[in-house]
Protein backbone atom coordinates (compact mmCIF):
# COMPACT_ATOMS: atom_id res chain seq x y z
CA UNK A 1 0.00 0.00 0.00
CA UNK A 2 0.99 3.60 0.00
CA UNK A 3 4.09 4.17 2.05
CA UNK A 4 4.80 7.32 3.91
CA UNK A 5 7.76 6.19 5.90
CA UNK A 6 10.64 8.58 5.65
CA UNK A 7 12.81 6.24 3.65
CA UNK A 8 12.86 8.33 0.54
CA UNK A 9 9.91 6.45 -0.87
CA UNK A 10 7.35 8.40 -2.78
CA UNK A 11 3.99 8.35 -1.01
CA UNK A 12 2.42 7.63 -4.36
CA UNK A 13 4.03 4.25 -4.88
CA UNK A 14 1.65 1.35 -4.57
CA UNK A 15 3.08 -2.11 -4.34
CA UNK A 16 0.69 -5.00 -3.87
CA UNK A 17 3.57 -7.13 -2.61
CA UNK A 18 4.02 -4.86 0.41
CA UNK A 19 1.37 -6.13 2.72
CA UNK A 20 1.24 -4.65 6.15
CA UNK A 21 -1.26 -5.35 8.87
CA UNK A 22 -4.57 -4.40 7.21
CA UNK A 23 -6.08 -2.98 10.40
CA UNK A 24 -3.16 -0.61 10.94
CA UNK A 25 -2.80 0.15 7.26
CA UNK A 26 -6.43 1.26 7.19
CA UNK A 27 -5.70 3.73 9.99
CA UNK A 28 -2.90 5.31 7.94
CA UNK A 29 -5.17 5.54 4.92
CA UNK A 30 -8.01 7.07 6.93
CA UNK A 31 -5.74 9.84 8.14
CA UNK A 32 -4.76 10.54 4.53
CA UNK A 33 -8.38 10.55 3.41
CA UNK A 34 -9.83 12.53 6.32
CA UNK A 35 -11.10 15.12 3.85
CA UNK A 36 -13.19 12.43 2.21
CA UNK A 37 -14.85 11.55 5.50
CA UNK A 38 -15.58 15.21 6.10
CA UNK A 39 -17.06 15.58 2.62
CA UNK A 40 -19.14 12.40 2.91
CA UNK A 41 -20.50 13.57 6.26
CA UNK A 42 -21.27 16.99 4.83
CA UNK A 43 -23.06 15.34 1.93
CA UNK A 44 -25.14 13.13 4.23
CA UNK A 45 -26.13 16.00 6.50
CA UNK A 46 -26.89 18.35 3.60
CA UNK A 47 -28.81 15.93 1.41
CA UNK A 48 -30.86 14.26 4.09
CA UNK A 49 -33.33 17.07 4.28
CA UNK A 50 -32.37 19.19 1.33
CA UNK A 51 -35.63 18.80 -0.52
CA UNK A 52 -37.88 18.99 2.52
CA UNK A 53 -39.56 22.14 3.70
CA UNK A 54 -38.53 21.99 7.34
CA UNK A 55 -35.00 20.94 6.51
CA UNK A 56 -32.67 20.25 9.38
CA UNK A 57 -35.50 20.81 11.87
CA UNK A 58 -36.65 17.24 11.17
CA UNK A 59 -33.60 15.98 13.02
CA UNK A 60 -35.08 17.52 16.13
CA UNK A 61 -38.79 17.00 15.40
CA UNK A 62 -38.48 13.30 14.63
CA UNK A 63 -37.57 12.09 18.15
CA UNK A 64 -39.96 14.65 19.65
CA UNK A 65 -42.81 13.12 17.67
CA UNK A 66 -41.87 9.64 18.85
CA UNK A 67 -41.68 10.90 22.40
CA UNK A 68 -45.18 12.35 22.25
CA UNK A 69 -46.64 9.14 20.82
CA UNK A 70 -44.91 6.98 23.42
CA UNK A 71 -45.79 9.28 26.28
CA UNK A 72 -49.46 9.18 25.36
CA UNK A 73 -49.40 5.42 24.85
CA UNK A 74 -47.35 4.35 27.85
CA UNK A 75 -48.02 6.84 30.59
CA UNK A 76 -51.76 6.42 30.35
CA UNK A 77 -51.99 2.73 29.46
CA UNK A 78 -49.10 1.21 31.36
CA UNK A 79 -48.80 3.81 34.11
CA UNK A 80 -45.11 3.97 34.83
CA UNK A 81 -46.02 5.95 37.88
CA UNK A 82 -42.62 5.68 39.46
CA UNK A 83 -40.82 7.35 36.54
CA UNK A 84 -40.17 11.00 37.09
CA UNK A 85 -40.85 12.94 33.89
CA UNK A 86 -41.48 10.05 31.53
CA UNK A 87 -41.17 12.29 28.41
CA UNK A 88 -37.57 13.23 29.30
CA UNK A 89 -36.78 9.62 30.23
CA UNK A 90 -38.09 8.19 26.97
CA UNK A 91 -36.63 10.95 24.79
CA UNK A 92 -33.13 10.52 26.21
CA UNK A 93 -33.36 6.77 25.65
CA UNK A 94 -34.70 7.18 22.13
CA UNK A 95 -31.92 9.58 21.15
CA UNK A 96 -29.25 7.15 22.24
CA UNK A 97 -31.04 4.24 20.60
CA UNK A 98 -31.78 5.93 17.31
CA UNK A 99 -28.18 7.10 17.12
CA UNK A 100 -27.13 3.47 17.37
CA UNK A 101 -29.71 2.00 15.00
CA UNK A 102 -29.40 4.76 12.38
CA UNK A 103 -25.62 4.89 12.23
CA UNK A 104 -25.16 1.12 12.06
CA UNK A 105 -27.79 0.83 9.33
CA UNK A 106 -26.32 3.75 7.41
CA UNK A 107 -22.81 2.28 7.61
CA UNK A 108 -24.12 -0.89 6.00
CA UNK A 109 -26.31 0.78 3.38
CA UNK A 110 -23.60 3.28 2.38
CA UNK A 111 -21.18 0.47 1.71
CA UNK A 112 -23.55 -1.86 -0.12
CA UNK A 113 -25.33 0.76 -2.23
CA UNK A 114 -22.50 3.23 -2.51
CA UNK A 115 -20.21 0.40 -3.40
CA UNK A 116 -20.14 1.31 -7.07
CA UNK A 117 -17.40 3.67 -6.11
CA UNK A 118 -15.32 0.81 -4.77
CA UNK A 119 -15.06 -0.57 -8.29
CA UNK A 120 -13.71 2.63 -9.72
CA UNK A 121 -11.24 4.23 -7.42
CA UNK A 122 -9.39 3.37 -4.29
CA UNK A 123 -10.82 4.87 -1.14
CA UNK A 124 -10.35 3.46 2.36
CA UNK A 125 -13.33 1.18 2.81
CA UNK A 126 -14.03 2.26 6.35
CA UNK A 127 -14.75 5.80 5.08
CA UNK A 128 -18.43 4.96 4.58
CA UNK A 129 -18.92 3.68 8.11
CA UNK A 130 -16.92 6.55 9.61
CA UNK A 131 -19.00 9.09 7.69
CA UNK A 132 -22.19 7.41 8.89
CA UNK A 133 -21.01 7.72 12.50
CA UNK A 134 -19.98 11.34 12.03
CA UNK A 135 -23.39 12.16 10.54
CA UNK A 136 -25.01 10.50 13.56
CA UNK A 137 -22.93 12.60 15.93
CA UNK A 138 -24.06 15.79 14.18
CA UNK A 139 -27.67 14.66 14.48
CA UNK A 140 -27.52 13.65 18.13
CA UNK A 141 -25.87 16.95 19.08
CA UNK A 142 -28.65 18.83 17.29
CA UNK A 143 -31.14 16.67 19.15
CA UNK A 144 -29.79 17.87 22.47
CA UNK A 145 -31.77 21.07 21.88
CA UNK A 146 -35.23 19.47 22.07
CA UNK A 147 -34.07 17.19 24.88
CA UNK A 148 -33.02 20.09 27.07
CA UNK A 149 -36.28 21.86 26.17
CA UNK A 150 -38.33 18.85 27.26
CA UNK A 151 -36.31 18.55 30.47
CA UNK A 152 -36.97 22.19 31.27
CA UNK A 153 -40.67 21.94 30.51
CA UNK A 154 -41.22 18.75 32.52
CA UNK A 155 -39.20 20.06 35.44
CA UNK A 156 -36.13 17.80 35.32
CA UNK A 157 -33.28 19.43 37.19
CA UNK A 158 -30.41 20.37 34.87
CA UNK A 159 -27.06 20.24 36.59
CA UNK A 160 -23.47 20.99 35.61
CA UNK A 161 -22.97 17.27 34.96
CA UNK A 162 -24.70 17.85 31.62
CA UNK A 163 -21.26 18.90 30.39
CA UNK A 164 -20.26 15.23 30.63
CA UNK A 165 -22.55 14.32 27.68
CA UNK A 166 -19.77 14.09 25.00
CA UNK A 167 -18.27 11.04 26.77
CA UNK A 168 -21.33 8.77 26.44
CA UNK A 169 -21.78 9.94 22.84
CA UNK A 170 -18.18 9.06 22.05
CA UNK A 171 -18.53 5.62 23.58
CA UNK A 172 -21.82 5.05 21.75
CA UNK A 173 -20.04 6.08 18.54
CA UNK A 174 -17.22 3.57 19.14
CA UNK A 175 -19.68 0.78 19.81
CA UNK A 176 -21.85 1.69 16.82
CA UNK A 177 -18.80 1.83 14.55
CA UNK A 178 -17.73 -1.63 15.65
CA UNK A 179 -21.20 -3.09 15.14
CA UNK A 180 -21.61 -1.19 11.86
CA UNK A 181 -18.36 -2.61 10.48
CA UNK A 182 -19.28 -6.15 11.53
CA UNK A 183 -22.71 -6.10 9.93
CA UNK A 184 -21.35 -4.32 6.84
CA UNK A 185 -18.94 -7.20 6.34
CA UNK A 186 -21.82 -9.66 6.45
CA UNK A 187 -24.06 -7.50 4.29
CA UNK A 188 -21.48 -7.45 1.49
CA UNK A 189 -21.80 -11.20 1.20
CA UNK A 190 -25.49 -11.52 1.98
CA UNK A 191 -27.75 -8.61 1.04
CA UNK A 192 -30.60 -9.91 3.19
CA UNK A 193 -28.55 -9.23 6.31
CA UNK A 194 -29.73 -5.64 5.92
CA UNK A 195 -33.35 -6.77 6.32
CA UNK A 196 -32.60 -9.15 9.15
CA UNK A 197 -30.71 -6.48 10.99
CA UNK A 198 -33.74 -4.18 11.02
CA UNK A 199 -35.76 -6.88 12.76
CA UNK A 200 -32.95 -7.71 15.14
CA UNK A 201 -32.36 -4.11 16.12
CA UNK A 202 -36.05 -3.55 16.81
CA UNK A 203 -36.16 -6.63 19.01
CA UNK A 204 -33.00 -5.51 20.74
CA UNK A 205 -34.57 -2.15 21.54
CA UNK A 206 -37.47 -3.79 23.33
CA UNK A 207 -35.01 -5.89 25.31
CA UNK A 208 -33.24 -2.74 26.47
CA UNK A 209 -34.76 -0.30 28.96
CA UNK A 210 -35.27 2.47 26.41
CA UNK A 211 -38.99 3.17 26.55
CA UNK A 212 -39.68 1.47 29.87
CA UNK A 213 -37.95 1.84 33.23
CA UNK A 214 -35.63 -1.02 34.16
CA UNK A 215 -37.43 -1.43 37.50
CA UNK A 216 -40.44 -3.05 35.80
CA UNK A 217 -38.34 -5.99 34.58
CA UNK A 218 -39.19 -9.27 36.30
CA UNK A 219 -36.34 -10.30 38.61
CA UNK A 220 -35.52 -13.51 36.75
CA UNK A 221 -34.89 -11.66 33.45
CA UNK A 222 -33.45 -8.50 34.88
CA UNK A 223 -29.87 -9.75 34.88
CA UNK A 224 -30.07 -10.94 31.25
CA UNK A 225 -31.53 -7.72 29.94
CA UNK A 226 -29.19 -5.46 31.82
CA UNK A 227 -25.79 -6.94 32.56
CA UNK A 228 -25.43 -9.06 29.43
CA UNK A 229 -26.68 -6.33 27.10
CA UNK A 230 -24.01 -3.85 25.96
CA UNK A 231 -26.59 -1.29 24.94
CA UNK A 232 -27.97 -1.24 28.49
CA UNK A 233 -24.73 0.29 29.75
CA UNK A 234 -24.47 2.74 26.89
CA UNK A 235 -28.07 3.98 27.00
CA UNK A 236 -27.86 4.33 30.75
CA UNK A 237 -24.57 6.17 30.55
CA UNK A 238 -26.13 8.60 28.07
CA UNK A 239 -29.00 9.26 30.48
CA UNK A 240 -26.92 9.73 33.61
CA UNK A 241 -25.53 13.27 33.04
CA UNK A 242 -28.77 14.43 31.43
CA UNK A 243 -31.85 12.81 32.87
CA UNK A 244 -30.37 11.78 36.21
CA UNK A 245 -28.29 14.95 36.43
CA UNK A 246 -25.21 13.40 38.02
CA UNK A 247 -21.84 11.99 37.06
CA UNK A 248 -21.55 8.25 36.47
CA UNK A 249 -19.89 6.01 39.03
CA UNK A 250 -16.85 3.93 38.19
CA UNK A 251 -18.98 0.80 37.82
CA UNK A 252 -21.33 2.55 35.46
CA UNK A 253 -18.53 3.93 33.31
CA UNK A 254 -16.12 1.00 33.07
CA UNK A 255 -18.41 -1.61 31.46
CA UNK A 256 -19.41 0.94 28.82
CA UNK A 257 -15.79 1.77 28.00
CA UNK A 258 -14.77 -1.88 27.83
CA UNK A 259 -17.67 -3.00 25.69
CA UNK A 260 -17.30 -0.05 23.30
CA UNK A 261 -13.58 -0.55 22.75
CA UNK A 262 -13.73 -4.34 22.45
CA UNK A 263 -16.48 -4.22 19.84
CA UNK A 264 -14.75 -1.39 17.97
CA UNK A 265 -11.44 -3.25 17.75
CA UNK A 266 -13.15 -6.50 16.78
CA UNK A 267 -15.23 -4.82 14.06
CA UNK A 268 -12.23 -2.92 12.72
CA UNK A 269 -10.09 -6.06 12.47
CA UNK A 270 -12.78 -8.23 10.87
CA UNK A 271 -13.77 -5.55 8.37
CA UNK A 272 -10.25 -4.62 7.27
CA UNK A 273 -9.22 -8.26 6.90
CA UNK A 274 -12.13 -8.86 4.54
CA UNK A 275 -12.29 -5.53 2.78
CA UNK A 276 -9.88 -6.42 0.00
CA UNK A 277 -12.43 -8.93 -1.20
CA UNK A 278 -15.27 -6.43 -1.30
CA UNK A 279 -14.62 -5.28 -4.85
CA UNK A 280 -15.15 -8.86 -5.98
CA UNK A 281 -18.52 -8.99 -4.27
CA UNK A 282 -20.35 -5.71 -4.37
Amino acid sequence: MILERKLGKSPLIYDSAERKNPALEELTQISRYRHLIFQLTRRDVLTRYKRSFLGIAWTMLNPLGMMIVLTIAFSSIFRFGEVESYPAYVLSGLLAWSFFSQTTTAAMINLVWGGGLLHRIYVPRTSFALAAIATGIVNIILSMVPLVAVMLITGVRITASILFFPVPILLLACFALGVGLLISTFAVYFPDVAEMYQIAVTGWMYLTPVIYPEEILPDQYSFLVTHLNPMYYLVKLFRIPLYYGRLPTFFELMPAIIVALVVLILGWIVFTRKSDEFAYRI
Partner: protein, 262 residues
Protein backbone atom coordinates in the same frame (compact mmCIF):
# COMPACT_ATOMS: atom_id res chain seq x y z
CA UNK B 1 11.55 10.51 -10.06
CA UNK B 2 14.69 8.51 -10.74
CA UNK B 3 16.12 8.92 -7.29
CA UNK B 4 12.85 8.05 -5.62
CA UNK B 5 12.68 4.67 -7.21
CA UNK B 6 16.38 3.93 -7.10
CA UNK B 7 16.40 4.48 -3.35
CA UNK B 8 13.61 1.97 -2.91
CA UNK B 9 15.38 -1.31 -2.20
CA UNK B 10 12.31 -3.45 -2.87
CA UNK B 11 12.17 -2.46 -6.52
CA UNK B 12 14.11 -4.77 -8.75
CA UNK B 13 16.21 -2.73 -11.08
CA UNK B 14 16.19 -4.21 -14.52
CA UNK B 15 15.98 -1.85 -17.45
CA UNK B 16 15.00 1.81 -17.82
CA UNK B 17 13.94 1.87 -14.18
CA UNK B 18 13.12 5.54 -13.90
CA UNK B 19 10.72 5.29 -16.76
CA UNK B 20 8.49 2.60 -15.34
CA UNK B 21 5.22 3.71 -13.82
CA UNK B 22 3.25 0.49 -13.91
CA UNK B 23 4.61 -3.00 -13.62
CA UNK B 24 2.69 -6.26 -13.38
CA UNK B 25 4.67 -9.37 -12.53
CA UNK B 26 3.08 -12.80 -13.06
CA UNK B 27 -0.30 -11.41 -12.11
CA UNK B 28 -3.16 -13.82 -11.77
CA UNK B 29 -6.64 -12.88 -10.63
CA UNK B 30 -9.01 -15.63 -9.63
CA UNK B 31 -12.63 -14.88 -9.00
CA UNK B 32 -14.06 -17.41 -6.65
CA UNK B 33 -17.80 -17.57 -6.63
CA UNK B 34 -20.21 -20.09 -5.17
CA UNK B 35 -21.42 -22.33 -7.98
CA UNK B 36 -24.98 -21.38 -7.17
CA UNK B 37 -25.90 -17.89 -6.33
CA UNK B 38 -27.05 -17.35 -2.76
CA UNK B 39 -29.21 -14.33 -2.53
CA UNK B 40 -30.08 -14.78 1.06
CA UNK B 41 -28.15 -15.58 4.13
CA UNK B 42 -30.77 -18.18 5.07
CA UNK B 43 -30.17 -20.12 1.87
CA UNK B 44 -26.45 -19.95 2.42
CA UNK B 45 -26.70 -21.03 6.04
CA UNK B 46 -28.80 -24.07 5.11
CA UNK B 47 -26.37 -25.09 2.39
CA UNK B 48 -23.42 -24.44 4.61
CA UNK B 49 -24.80 -26.68 7.32
CA UNK B 50 -25.49 -29.34 4.71
CA UNK B 51 -21.92 -28.91 3.51
CA UNK B 52 -23.08 -28.41 -0.03
CA UNK B 53 -21.28 -25.27 -1.00
CA UNK B 54 -19.08 -25.61 -4.01
CA UNK B 55 -17.11 -22.87 -5.58
CA UNK B 56 -16.42 -22.17 -9.20
CA UNK B 57 -13.18 -20.47 -9.90
CA UNK B 58 -12.79 -18.18 -12.83
CA UNK B 59 -9.44 -16.98 -14.04
CA UNK B 60 -9.92 -13.35 -14.97
CA UNK B 61 -6.22 -12.81 -15.58
CA UNK B 62 -3.46 -15.35 -15.88
CA UNK B 63 0.30 -14.82 -15.66
CA UNK B 64 0.15 -11.27 -16.91
CA UNK B 65 3.48 -9.49 -17.24
CA UNK B 66 3.35 -5.91 -18.38
CA UNK B 67 5.47 -2.83 -18.03
CA UNK B 68 4.20 0.61 -18.89
CA UNK B 69 6.50 3.61 -19.01
CA UNK B 70 6.08 7.19 -18.02
CA UNK B 71 4.33 9.32 -20.62
CA UNK B 72 3.16 6.39 -22.67
CA UNK B 73 -0.30 6.22 -24.16
CA UNK B 74 -1.05 2.57 -23.85
CA UNK B 75 -4.00 0.84 -25.48
CA UNK B 76 -5.83 -2.22 -24.20
CA UNK B 77 -7.90 -4.28 -26.63
CA UNK B 78 -9.76 -7.52 -26.27
CA UNK B 79 -13.22 -9.02 -26.35
CA UNK B 80 -15.72 -8.59 -23.54
CA UNK B 81 -14.60 -10.72 -20.64
CA UNK B 82 -11.00 -10.82 -21.77
CA UNK B 83 -9.90 -9.15 -18.53
CA UNK B 84 -9.63 -5.51 -19.58
CA UNK B 85 -11.57 -4.05 -16.69
CA UNK B 86 -9.93 -6.41 -14.21
CA UNK B 87 -6.58 -5.10 -15.42
CA UNK B 88 -7.73 -1.51 -14.90
CA UNK B 89 -9.03 -2.31 -11.43
CA UNK B 90 -5.68 -3.76 -10.47
CA UNK B 91 -3.91 -0.62 -11.59
CA UNK B 92 -6.44 1.63 -9.85
CA UNK B 93 -5.78 -0.59 -6.79
CA UNK B 94 -9.41 -1.41 -6.38
CA UNK B 95 -8.55 -5.10 -6.63
CA UNK B 96 -5.56 -6.93 -5.25
CA UNK B 97 -4.06 -9.68 -7.39
CA UNK B 98 -4.62 -13.24 -6.24
CA UNK B 99 -1.04 -14.02 -7.21
CA UNK B 100 1.82 -11.94 -8.50
CA UNK B 101 2.63 -8.34 -7.96
CA UNK B 102 1.26 -5.00 -9.07
CA UNK B 103 3.49 -1.98 -8.74
CA UNK B 104 2.24 1.50 -9.57
CA UNK B 105 4.03 4.81 -9.12
CA UNK B 106 1.67 7.75 -9.14
CA UNK B 107 -1.87 8.85 -8.58
CA UNK B 108 -4.37 7.01 -10.74
CA UNK B 109 -7.52 8.80 -11.84
CA UNK B 110 -9.96 6.64 -13.70
CA UNK B 111 -12.53 8.11 -16.01
CA UNK B 112 -14.36 4.80 -16.02
CA UNK B 113 -17.78 6.35 -15.93
CA UNK B 114 -17.77 10.07 -15.82
CA UNK B 115 -19.21 11.53 -12.68
CA UNK B 116 -19.98 8.13 -11.21
CA UNK B 117 -19.51 9.46 -7.70
CA UNK B 118 -21.79 12.48 -8.10
CA UNK B 119 -24.64 12.96 -5.69
CA UNK B 120 -27.71 14.17 -7.61
CA UNK B 121 -29.02 16.41 -4.83
CA UNK B 122 -25.80 18.33 -4.35
CA UNK B 123 -24.79 21.25 -6.51
CA UNK B 124 -22.05 20.95 -9.08
CA UNK B 125 -19.70 22.91 -6.87
CA UNK B 126 -20.34 20.69 -3.83
CA UNK B 127 -19.80 17.64 -6.01
CA UNK B 128 -16.45 19.03 -7.13
CA UNK B 129 -15.28 19.02 -3.51
CA UNK B 130 -16.79 15.60 -2.81
CA UNK B 131 -15.23 14.11 -5.93
CA UNK B 132 -11.91 15.75 -5.16
CA UNK B 133 -11.96 14.22 -1.68
CA UNK B 134 -12.54 10.80 -3.24
CA UNK B 135 -9.38 11.37 -5.25
CA UNK B 136 -7.57 12.33 -2.04
CA UNK B 137 -7.61 16.12 -2.27
CA UNK B 138 -8.47 18.50 0.56
CA UNK B 139 -10.95 21.32 0.31
CA UNK B 140 -8.18 23.91 0.06
CA UNK B 141 -6.50 22.03 -2.76
CA UNK B 142 -9.78 21.79 -4.63
CA UNK B 143 -10.51 25.48 -4.06
CA UNK B 144 -7.43 26.26 -6.12
CA UNK B 145 -8.63 24.06 -8.94
CA UNK B 146 -12.26 25.09 -9.06
CA UNK B 147 -11.78 27.99 -11.47
CA UNK B 148 -10.09 25.74 -13.99
CA UNK B 149 -12.82 23.14 -13.58
CA UNK B 150 -15.52 25.77 -14.05
CA UNK B 151 -13.87 27.09 -17.16
CA UNK B 152 -13.36 23.73 -18.80
CA UNK B 153 -16.80 22.37 -17.96
CA UNK B 154 -18.52 25.52 -19.34
CA UNK B 155 -21.21 25.17 -16.69
CA UNK B 156 -21.33 28.85 -15.74
CA UNK B 157 -23.96 29.56 -13.11
CA UNK B 158 -25.26 25.98 -13.40
CA UNK B 159 -22.41 25.03 -11.06
CA UNK B 160 -24.68 26.09 -8.18
CA UNK B 161 -27.63 23.94 -9.34
CA UNK B 162 -28.14 20.35 -8.15
CA UNK B 163 -26.55 17.96 -10.63
CA UNK B 164 -29.85 16.09 -11.03
CA UNK B 165 -30.89 19.03 -13.20
CA UNK B 166 -27.88 18.55 -15.49
CA UNK B 167 -28.02 17.08 -18.97
CA UNK B 168 -25.86 14.02 -19.55
CA UNK B 169 -23.44 16.21 -21.48
CA UNK B 170 -23.06 18.64 -18.59
CA UNK B 171 -22.62 15.74 -16.21
CA UNK B 172 -19.88 14.32 -18.39
CA UNK B 173 -18.15 17.67 -18.84
CA UNK B 174 -17.97 18.21 -15.10
CA UNK B 175 -16.67 14.69 -14.52
CA UNK B 176 -14.03 15.09 -17.19
CA UNK B 177 -12.99 18.48 -15.87
CA UNK B 178 -12.57 17.19 -12.30
CA UNK B 179 -10.62 14.10 -13.27
CA UNK B 180 -8.28 15.98 -15.56
CA UNK B 181 -7.84 19.11 -13.44
CA UNK B 182 -6.64 16.99 -10.56
CA UNK B 183 -3.65 16.19 -12.79
CA UNK B 184 -3.08 12.50 -12.12
CA UNK B 185 0.16 10.79 -13.08
CA UNK B 186 -1.84 7.99 -14.64
CA UNK B 187 -5.14 8.57 -16.40
CA UNK B 188 -7.50 5.76 -17.30
CA UNK B 189 -9.84 6.31 -20.25
CA UNK B 190 -12.41 3.56 -20.52
CA UNK B 191 -14.63 4.12 -23.56
CA UNK B 192 -15.31 7.68 -22.56
CA UNK B 193 -14.47 9.50 -25.73
CA UNK B 194 -17.93 9.04 -27.16
CA UNK B 195 -19.74 11.39 -24.78
CA UNK B 196 -20.72 14.98 -25.35
CA UNK B 197 -21.06 16.88 -28.60
CA UNK B 198 -18.40 17.18 -31.24
CA UNK B 199 -17.01 20.44 -29.94
CA UNK B 200 -16.59 18.98 -26.47
CA UNK B 201 -14.96 15.87 -27.87
CA UNK B 202 -12.44 18.04 -29.68
CA UNK B 203 -11.77 19.83 -26.41
CA UNK B 204 -11.24 16.53 -24.67
CA UNK B 205 -8.84 15.42 -27.37
CA UNK B 206 -6.92 18.66 -26.97
CA UNK B 207 -6.72 18.20 -23.25
CA UNK B 208 -5.56 14.62 -23.60
CA UNK B 209 -2.91 15.88 -25.97
CA UNK B 210 -1.75 18.39 -23.38
CA UNK B 211 -1.61 15.58 -20.84
CA UNK B 212 0.63 13.61 -23.16
CA UNK B 213 2.85 16.64 -23.57
CA UNK B 214 3.14 16.93 -19.80
CA UNK B 215 4.24 13.34 -19.45
CA UNK B 216 1.06 11.81 -18.05
CA UNK B 217 0.72 8.11 -18.65
CA UNK B 218 -2.60 7.27 -20.25
CA UNK B 219 -4.33 3.90 -20.46
CA UNK B 220 -6.98 3.65 -23.15
CA UNK B 221 -9.58 0.92 -23.35
CA UNK B 222 -11.73 1.01 -26.45
CA UNK B 223 -13.59 -1.18 -28.87
CA UNK B 224 -13.00 1.48 -31.50
CA UNK B 225 -9.78 0.46 -33.19
CA UNK B 226 -9.53 3.90 -34.75
CA UNK B 227 -9.21 5.48 -31.28
CA UNK B 228 -6.47 3.05 -30.31
CA UNK B 229 -4.61 3.58 -33.57
CA UNK B 230 -4.73 7.37 -33.37
CA UNK B 231 -3.88 7.80 -29.70
CA UNK B 232 -1.61 5.03 -28.58
CA UNK B 233 2.07 4.29 -28.89
CA UNK B 234 1.79 0.70 -27.76
CA UNK B 235 -1.06 -1.66 -27.13
CA UNK B 236 -1.80 -4.98 -25.48
CA UNK B 237 -4.22 -7.61 -26.73
CA UNK B 238 -5.83 -9.54 -23.91
CA UNK B 239 -7.39 -12.86 -24.77
CA UNK B 240 -9.17 -14.97 -22.13
CA UNK B 241 -7.15 -13.34 -19.39
CA UNK B 242 -3.77 -13.82 -21.03
CA UNK B 243 -1.53 -11.37 -22.80
CA UNK B 244 -1.63 -12.39 -26.43
CA UNK B 245 0.52 -9.64 -27.80
CA UNK B 246 2.19 -6.37 -26.86
CA UNK B 247 3.30 -4.31 -29.83
CA UNK B 248 2.60 -1.18 -31.84
CA UNK B 249 -1.10 -0.44 -32.17
CA UNK B 250 -1.03 -1.24 -35.90
CA UNK B 251 0.33 -4.74 -35.36
CA UNK B 252 -1.91 -5.47 -32.39
CA UNK B 253 -5.04 -4.25 -34.15
CA UNK B 254 -4.12 -6.21 -37.26
CA UNK B 255 -3.67 -9.45 -35.34
CA UNK B 256 -6.74 -8.83 -33.18
CA UNK B 257 -9.10 -8.06 -36.06
CA UNK B 258 -7.75 -11.03 -38.02
CA UNK B 259 -8.61 -13.27 -35.10
CA UNK B 260 -12.05 -11.67 -34.77
CA UNK B 261 -12.88 -12.20 -38.44
CA UNK B 262 -11.79 -15.79 -38.58
Amino acid sequence: MNSLIASNPTVRTTHSVGEEVIRLEDVTVVYRAPSERFNTFKEFAIRWIQGKIRHNTFLALQDVNLTIHKGEVFGIVGQNGAGKSTLLKLIARVLRPTMGRVWVNGRVAPLLELGAGFHPELSGRENVFLNGAMLGFSREEMSKKIDGILEFSELGSFIEAPVRTYSSGMWARLGFAIATDTAPEILILDEILSVGDEAFQRKCQARIQSFRDNGTTILVVSHHMQVIKEMCQRAVWLHHGRVNMVDTPENVIHAYTDEQNR
